[in-house]
Amino acid sequence: MGLTLAPLAARRFGWTSVAGLQAEIWPEDHCLSQESASGFQLLLNREPPMARAASGSGETSLIIVPGIRAMSLGCGNELLGRMQEGAWVILETGAGYSSIEEAKRQAGLLERFFGLKVLPSVPVSKSRGHRYIAYSWPLPRLVRTFEAITPIHSNAGEVVAHLGRQAVCAKKRVARGGLLYLGSMLGPGLFAEEPEGLAVGAAMVAFCRMTASLEGLEGRQLKV
């Protein structure tokens, strides 16, 4: 799939069907988000062609929002609506590079729509010695940080990655779908083909695929 530099207004960056998973990428119109989108697109494109042929029902089950800085009310509403239909959302914050106002607004919307409490972004200081995000889920891996992190207050069961003692990523069930919040950017590392990042990203996609298919089965059973 070709990469385009679509503005947020156009928003549908890529539409990819992989192994029973319909995925959309919603980038913003700045190079941080565009690069991250390219990384996630690369990740989706790595799925084996045989698996891709087995695509599912046509309903989107994964939405990736890369490097988001200026989150709008409309965006929050739409994401929540899609979660109510069963979609999982990978929301990667770019708040570390946004204005204070944008970051505050984003934090407010994340709490309002998804019940996720986000703390102010902090630069990753090399003097502290923490260079890698320690993921405990979906795979235990160390993945390189990206300058700034936007940590979270989250229930222990929801946190899936830390930088030092700070929780930075969370997995949270929302309505029939859910949210994977990334408080440290993963997409640029995917674009750079960092093996650990690709492994974590692929496992996240696999989780969304599995969850979506289970949700689909449940939905059919309910209809019966």
Partner: protein, 266 residues
Amino acid sequence: MGFSDGVKLLKRAGYDGIELWLGERPWFQMKTTDAEIRAMLRQIEDAGLEVSNVANALDWKENISARDPAKREAAFRHIERQIEAAQILGTDAILVVAGLVTEDTPYNEVYKRTVGTLQRLAEVAAKARVKIGVENCNAEQRFLLSPREFSTFLDEINSPWVGIHLDVGNIHDTGFAEQWIELHGPRITRIHVKDVLKHRGRCGDQSVYTNIFLGDNNWHAIREAMRKVNYDGWLIVEMESRYRYAADQQVYDASVALTRLIAGKI
């Protein structure tokens, strides 16, 4: 020394042209207008010189490989401005320092981001018919340290409008300038000429760079390699260590050395 006196000195010392650096001196900044650039060109032409190419002093702070999107976008804009200025100044080449590997910005990331951005800039360059010369600042960039890798990098960008601005002093002890010349041949947009003290290493404010013929470059081999690949473009002297006294004397001395290099009297 002001711009006007500077170009007159260059002419007196025997040079044919001048490399202009965007962002280095007050008279050529991002805010400098087209009309002001045209006025600079008039002074250059009045002195009997041409513009060899347009370099910039901004890439070290605002690089296309930066993680910070604001810096990355600023870098894109100043390179676009270099291309516009080159058109106004009647030259067909610019110099950029593309890609800075740092403690925090890893090599793989810098590589992909730099290739991608140069592919976009190549489209701008092609429309303007100005070549982008990517300088080999090997040691300072910590990037593209071998001539083969630099070649692969240019292959990936895959545009006739992006080549290498080869600095024969920048290779230090990681290789041999003449081999870089041979390997890159027609992709060389311009050549920076300076000498290097290969075994000094940077220490405090001591430079590893020095005047032509004072360092460890093999100038016979460099000259032969330029002949072999039929390089007949600009040779641009670049001096990092300056004379402490009689600063203008360095300009004359470098010119004489360059003349002897060109004539093969070495």
